[in-house]
Symmetry: D2
Subunit: 148 residues, 4 copies
């Protein structure tokens, strides 16, 4: 286990890399990291067959997973283990095969161990919002678990 | 396209079969149907490597997808196309590799085109609740889309 | 300060009486207690001019306050000080002047210090659901504050 | 009934004035308007005895009512009758007698008849967030009801 970097941005990047590498649904849905900084994260995905429901649109579960993963990377970016406790999502517009989605999560407010993160999902095709997500995180340890 | 059955329970079963067959995330996470009836649905899954996050616990996105799929089967059980609009989930207890989960969705209240569904996720190991989900559906067509 | 009763039902009744007596919005909106037991509470109100908005229907804030007060009485019924942390409400049908409303809150699941309560609001005129509420409570002290 | 003004800002102001004048809970809790513009609204209140619960802190119902009223003014600012359908609130920090609160509601995203509004409540004493609210509105008529 390497010591965590002192620089907040490098720390955020290192935590994100390890978290994404160990995240099986993120790999299956094809998420990739656009940006990470203390308290924020951006992910993107292109909607493939693996995300479709029986109506031929993107499954709400895939959209939630994208937002929840962005939240998870954002709330763990300080190097303290945090988990989502309660999350809600509103599906604003349908998403089709081949659409390219961007999820931007940022910290809205914080107390010592809890925080609220908002994550907006937009369709890169027209820039329109396709879902709005809000999640509540709780810090459960003052360090990241091994092997992060 | 075969005509839909008149019997409400057979209709619910037929809709569920087609919906699950066309649901890629449900197949990837390994959901299977335990029960379906008008306005309700039960799914189960065993947590495999494909659902784990970097902390080695079940990804919140997999749990949401399980609940959201149960909602989707329940709210489409009347043979009218319906979609989830807004959903929230509370993660109550962590879930580990190999845990067997049961999701029970039922209709809580209904107006002409909208309804609220609750879905409780329990761990079959000890019967404890691991997540509570509430979703809002809207009926968008008076029939199911082809080829259902 | 009188010692709290050992009997769980009498304890719940005593906590509820003190809480309602000290609750200014509950008095202003005219809530009254129908029932209290460990982990559950029922309140009622008749919609008066004091609850109306500019459209002449019952203000969503009055409906939320009714549900939130029922939650508060239910989650404090064990004699340990608890507060609501996150609540959501869905307004299902409009409510008019003179309607008589019943709010039933019950505990849905619990861990050591947190719990989820659901509260259904019905219109006594026709028994129809007018709102569904879900709240998350956290126990912040092992006793009730003086003078309860 | 006077014709509605063409100017969007004057229209928003006129709608807000009529809505607040007809809002009984807003008067009882002592809300006043700081600002209104198309799709946004700011209200303020000083916490008086009329808002306290049995623990001597501001009742969650009063905080919800403040946020819900700000949402209502914001979503009716275009001169089309709109109502809240589903709202959630997170209570971040306790609020005491005499605290001065500011509620800022703004439109987060919109489709033809639905919109999402966020409302942040801050304590003017220290500028800290005391609650975060998110509400979903639906436009139910293309004009405001008489006498607005």
């Amino acid at each position: 286990m390497t010591p965590l970097p002192d620089d907040p941005c490098r720390l955020a990047e290192q935590c994100a890399a390890v978290m994404l590498a160990g995240d099986a649904p993120a790999r299956a849905f094809g998420f990739s990291l656009r940006k990470v900084a203390p308290g924020e994260a951006e992910l993107e995905m292109t909607v493939s067959e693996s995300s479709l429901n029986a109506f031929g649109t993107c499954h709400g579960g895939a959209l939630f997973t994208l937002a929840d993963t962005a939240l998870s990377i954002a709330c763990n970016s300080y190097g303290r283990q945090s988990v989502a406790q309660q999350c809600s999502i509103t599906f604003v517009r349908p998403v089709r095969l081949g659409d390219h989605l961007i999820a931007r999560a940022f910290e809205r407010c914080r107390t010592s161990r809890t925080a609220i993160y908002d994550c907006t999902l937009t369709n890169a095709r027209d820039g329109k919002v396709i879902a709005e997500f809000r999640g509540h995180s709780r810090t459960i340890a003052d360090a990241m678990p091994t092997p992060i």
